[in-house]
Symmetry: D5
Subunit: 151 residues, 10 copies
């Protein structure tokens, strides 16, 4: 699935602006990954936030109205084709699921009981840990535990 036209316009405008997601985050008042998820049609902005983003990215004219409407509409989420992603960066997360999915389930359900980690009441943070042998990526997932309801 190719990025939508709106995604492409936002990415180009961001490149022109020279701003990073961290800088946009500071302007919009939401976290870096959340702002990036807005770029890829995976989140909904308040009208005011969307206006602010388009101001910062200097998107004007008829394109602005179009993008504003998209950013404030609840999207059909899921940005990838169904199945297994072929991009190596994205694939590694599928690999982590294949290799560590059952161990994570065993450890988390031992700590919390029968249920899941929510991917909705959920946030994601990225940090960089400098290391002379090669910098490290730190990703923190923070999701509400949802126990299965018995009825």
């Amino acid at each position: 699935m190719l990025p939508s036209e709106v995604s492409v316009s936002l990415i180009k405008a961001k490149r022109r602006s020279g701003l990073s997601f961290a800088e946009l985050s500071a302007q919009i008042g939401q976290a870096e990954v959340w702002v990036a998820s807005l770029f890829y049609g995976q989140a909904t902005a308040e009208l005011q936030q969307a206006e602010k983003l388009l101001d910062v990215l200097q998107i004007v004219g008829t394109e602005r109205a179009e993008i504003l409407e998209v950013l404030t509409t609840y999207p059909i989420k899921g940005a990838l084709d169904p199945g297994i992603p072929t991009d190596p960066f994205l694939y590694r997360f599928y690999e982590i699921l294949q290799v560590y999915g059952l161990p994570l389930k065993a450890v988390i359900q031992e700590k919390f009981g029968d249920g899941i980690m929510s991917a909705i009441d959920f946030s994601l943070t990225v940090d960089k840990e400098e290391d002379p042998k090669g910098d490290r990526v730190l990703i923190t997932m923070n999701g509400k535990f949802l126990p299965y309801r018995k009825w």
Copy 2:
């Protein structure tokens, strides 16, 4: 794909022992999730660690020799059927990839350049954040950033 016979034996022995992964972790000297990944055929133990684990789980006799051999052999990894997992706990990680995969790629490559987060030089930690509105699961992924080589 069903858990292998060795996985089933280890899980049953752990249940009989009443020990948690945290307790096994303390005994084996490796992290909780790593120990669980050993249970599901996703990691290789040193002979000594494998012996220790089988002692703690009180696995003896011919079954012990069989399991010892498996635990110290480099496995064919990937514990799930290819494609999209149907268990709701596991599925949420696929959903995170669908929804936040491209945003993560954009943010991480902005910080680190063209490359990937390794899933091999990689570790995984699980924490519980108590919260009156519902406890939260914290998962920390720590992977070396691997830049693409130009040649």
Copy 3:
């Protein structure tokens, strides 16, 4: 995916007992569909409930210990092969998703905002509406609405 041996044993014992799910529900103190979901490895029982169920179904001996362990363990859920079910009864639910999935999303998100109906904090009730032109099945789904978290 064939029903597990434990499922088959429970179904046979229920048939021998002549009891309906409604009658088992009254004995176990949980709803009809929940009890059935226990039969198919989709829910976890308290030890006491599991004992009660096995008493009522008159399951004894070594089989009892085995089933007791399964019923009180957090299962790997999802009872069907991945993809599209071929049984006509099950398929109709896939068809409802194909035909009414987007309309439901539009109506529910209009009423509740951007988010999902939980399938975890969730219950399911079945009723029979007698009708001379053909009885009708009433299924009520009751799931907590989970709004997307912004961070």
Copy 4:
């Protein structure tokens, strides 16, 4: 599969009009979910109903004739790509089928005999149950039971 151009036009006109599906339902004289299913090419309107809808949404000119023809034609139904949906809202219904499909079959066939719940002679209602711990979505499915014919 992307929504068709007709769907996109209807959704945009509805947004401009500021009307909810509940308000359109009152105007058209059909239920909320049914009206939404018309928006997504999953139902056929009487000419008069289609005219009414286009009046209310103030759709005029050549676009009106085009949409009128589509709304009154029997569509090829099924709005999603074959397989498993990647949008989290839609996926939850697939998950309900995976987890509760066999239990539902067992309970419904126990009450009604060998057969299926029709997805054709079928209706769907959505309600909102306010709850201080989080509002709840109530979905009621009402389908005729169709027993298998023996011949």
Copy 5:
């Protein structure tokens, strides 16, 4: 998907008996194709009919009890692997769907309105038309038309 053990037993017993489906049909009081569908786990017999069938096929002992239980239980239907069948006989029906599916939809919906031909309130007859240039197979499908409900 291999035929179940019960199917294999019934097919072997029929072969031993030398009886055709037409002869079994006369004995059981149901049509030929319906009797064959019972052999492949696609229909449910009344206890009396099942007993009669097993008498005629001279199936006795513990195997009889097992088969009796299966024949009188509502089965999980759909005898083929999901997807496209590889047997040439079976494939031709998939080919007919590929080539004549949309034409049939156009002709039938023109005659009946928006709806479907039921595959539940449905019967199937096979006849042989002798022809010097090669005998012909006549298959008659007879299904109730189900119009879409508007609500």
Copy 6:
């Protein structure tokens, strides 16, 4: 797979003309379902028949030449995406294959020997059987039996 532009033009012209497939059938001198299969790119017309059809549907100008060429060319057949159709009308034929495919094979091969019913030397007729409890669709398939050649 969307209907081709030629199919869409033919369907629109037919709608404008107000003619049914039965009426077109009378004009063209071929059966109703065959004429519909021509609309969907699944059959080849003689030049004269194609001319006649375009006269009746009042298709003129450059579009006429284009459609004429398509109607008289041997098409790449198979109008649906590979796999399982999502439209409920079409799906029922897949369901019939899943449920009654093996029984049909058993009954037909018992009557005719090892071989198949041709889908090439084949015709298809649709009839309407009026019934106060709901009209019934009658579909008759008539295919030459092709025995396997031994060599």
Copy 7:
């Protein structure tokens, strides 16, 4: 899909006998490839032929009765898993279809009209052409042309 037990038994017996398919062909009075297709459950033998084959292969006892029954029963054909074969020998035929399928269709339909080459009224011969630069395989397919019926 693994070869069936019957296939494995026949292959082992043939190996023990030291006979080639060409020699079996002479004994059975059918062509080499046809005899091989019988080994893989893709053809049906007359009782006499099956007896002859089992005599030649010196298969006796209970195994003989079992194999005799299988060889004289109309099989469910198609010996490979659905999809694309992974064995390099078999794959080349899939590759020929990918590369030369449409050219073959164009050339054959130009010569014969709209229709297909039958794979039922069909035979297959293999020859070896010796060549100092490397021997060549000659495969001849001989299938009846089946023109599409117009009705």
Copy 8:
């Protein structure tokens, strides 16, 4: 996968010219099926051959330059979607692979040893065998045998 624009142009020009593949073959000095494979982007022509073909088909102007470039470039081969073809003509070759693939492998490897028939050093011929009971298609495949290298 639809035929490319270049394929469509060539096919239209061939139709206008009234020439058969056999006639083009005589002009180009290559076999009929090879010429057809050039039409579908499955072979590479020498510049001179491509020029000759375009002369014969009277393709001129900017389109000529475009097509000339494509015909003389090494293509990405494989003209069909991955998986199983839905066109009945093409499908029969897949069916032959399913039914006769393993028998062919057994017979050919018995004659030649462990290896494959090349689909690269390979040619394909089509002949028509007239027969009062229905003409027959003869397809001859001629491929170099490639034995597995041992190293």
Copy 9:
């Protein structure tokens, strides 16, 4: 997946220029395969390198700016459709994985321990070995070994 417009433009310009990848490699100061990977959107160039490449290929005007932006952006990698490639050249690498994947794993892990060969810190060289019996392709893969981290 078709090559992107940028890939097509680069390939056409290279053809016009008459330069080989080896000659471009000398100009750009990167290896032949790496330069080719840039053409197919699988690598990121430094601005200076991209400028140099466009100079050499004489790409100017608005197209130049567009391509410059693409060449210096981190791409979504993976140039083929998910699954099994249908082009025979590409397929052979899939075949090597099917046939020699497990043997390679066994030999490499025996030499290096549990881990993988990196496809990121990785380079690829192609050589031609002239041979009177047919020239040979030599491909050398050089990837860093990444041992699994234990934590």
Copy 10:
């Protein structure tokens, strides 16, 4: 696809023997990777080589006869499930195909013309390059170039 029983026996015997593939290679007189491919059912040994291997691995008794037969039979090759492998080691080769497949095709066909690198007349060598920053894996593929035949 699980390794066959023969593979498992050979791997266990090798482990017991303490011999590496390099040592077995010296004994058998074939290269390391070829010997490993024999272990996984991907190559055929001469009887003498197979005897030698079983002597070295000290495999005796009825198991020996069984394995001897398998090792000297032409196998159905392809050791992995169709599709994309989930083991991280194996997956990297699929990733190399996704990322570098088209660049390799462009470079090799530029050097050699339209054709493929054979995977049959092919060998594979593994070397270890010691490097203080992490050892490197060198894989050399050596395959005959096969030009497309024109006919």
